[in-house]
Symmetry: C2
DNA sequence: CGCCCTATTGAATATAATCAACCGCCGTGG
DNA sequence: CCACGGCGGTTGATTATATTCAATAGGGCG
């Protein structure tokens, strides 16, 4: 019955989710019925880059139709870190608009599919569909808010709280896509999670043990079960001052 | 000759910079000469909020015409932190577009002025000025990149590197406005800087001493002089692994 | 001139990083 | 089918870094 079991990507599911009629962003893609904005469907194999920093810009954003990705950015020193994970129904390359060269590298965490959407179509759709443009502004603004929230978390929280936040974020996003909120698979290696959370891989490993001991989570390889949502939320939200 | 001396804000300068013709964002504000997008000029006194989290949205962004601001955001716990500083020629509330309620609180660090620009005008200017719309997307995308860069810094750097980054960022932005790159005033209290950098105020204080001892900076109250730009850049960019 | 708030300094403690070794899963090939 | 090898992940001990709590100093504003 439940199509949400954490098996490896089923091709039937891909075909299902790939249909444009069911895409959450159907309105954004097709501002007018005659003029589909979608460029083309692109398949990206596991551990393969969708694009890389320094490349000539593709002048497009991407809607993830299946699978998931990580986005890597290089600091002034050249050292790269994971700045985000992008799953199905979410957008990639919102941070590349207007650039001549790509500023980030985006890599598929599993075999995935995306829809390419040219900036031009977004910016000057030509006809009277103002919703799409206002929607675009709202979409980008929302991404700014998300980034600010992440940055705020990085400033204010300890490692254990970050892990809790991260797991809850994944849970929520899975749930928003119609999947279980309490059980899912971590498509990314531990090192990527640690990089995203701004902690060492060793520290992450220890924290997983700690949360497991506290019966907040259950982890087997990359499969996670959240056993105590409220407690995780309290941990994530709870400040350094438990008073 | 040089209008860039780091004196306290002269009212003559304010009047000067306030003129719309000289505003960097003149094109964005006035897509067509007949239809100025600017709502009205708003004065905000020191330590006064431009808007507050929870308020009904003003459906506008703001161009800072003089002075500077801090943006505060609340985490899930309710604890608030500084997520950014905004100076002259920069935009405020890019992260509020499309929201019914304000998500942040913005407070003036000194007596300041802003121009209010309605979303509507940005989204559907009506006429053929596609530059303004593409420019808006690029503007928002750039804000995403800046936030990502900040988040990356928070993940990868130690406190001293963060302080160096922060000072260099201020330096650069002052310079971009035609002022000295090596001398400026910190309009915000130490606590706000510490909050933004994700460190304690005590730690910040010690680091200022440290950088002063290393002859990288000179600080008197809130007036800063950067004595060794290259060394600061190396410190900011230099990773934890000095190899 | 004095008060109060901001900032600084000091000592003890907590937190996570680092370095190094080890484990175990998984794919490979015999 | 089982042995091997490699990589991702875990565990342990030590060290570095920044926090916390507490007390003090400085400066702006009344």
């Amino acid at each position: 019955m439940n199509p949400h079991s954490a098996t490896t990507t089923a091709s039937a599911d891909i075909a299902h989710q790939t249909s444009c009629e069911r895409c959450r962003h159907h309105d954004l893609c097709r501002p007018t019925p005659e003029k589909p904005v979608v460029g083309r469907r692109i398949r990206v194999a596991r551990n393969t880059p969708l694009y890389q920093a320094g490349e000539l810009a593709s002048n497009s954003i991407y809607a993830v139709r299946s699978g998931s990705f990580k986005t890597l950015r290089a600091g002034p020193d050249g050292e790269t870190g994971v700045v985000g994970f992008t799953m199905n129904t979410e957008f990639l390359a919102l941070n590349e608009i207007g650039q001549k060269q790509q500023t980030c590298t985006v890599v598929a965490l599993e075999d995935s599919e995306v829809c390419k959407i040219a900036w031009k179509r977004l910016a000057c759709g030509g006809h009277g569909e103002s919703l799409s443009r206002a929607g675009m502004n709202a979409l980008l603004s929302g991404e700014i808010r998300r980034e600010q929230a992440v940055a705020l978390m990085l400033r204010n929280t300890h490692a254990d709280q970050r892990l809790a936040s991260f797991l809850l974020s994944l849970s929520q996003r899975h749930h928003a896509n119609g999947y279980s909120a309490s059980q899912f698979r971590l498509q990314m290696p531990r090192g990527d999670i640690a990089s995203f959370l701004g902690i060492s891989a060793e520290c992450l490993s220890r924290l997983i043990v700690q949360l497991t001991r506290q019966a907040l989570i259950e982890v087997r390889q990359r499969d996670v079960t959240l056993l105590n949502l409220p407690a995780l939320q309290q941990l994530a939200g709870g400040p350094s001052t438990p008073g």
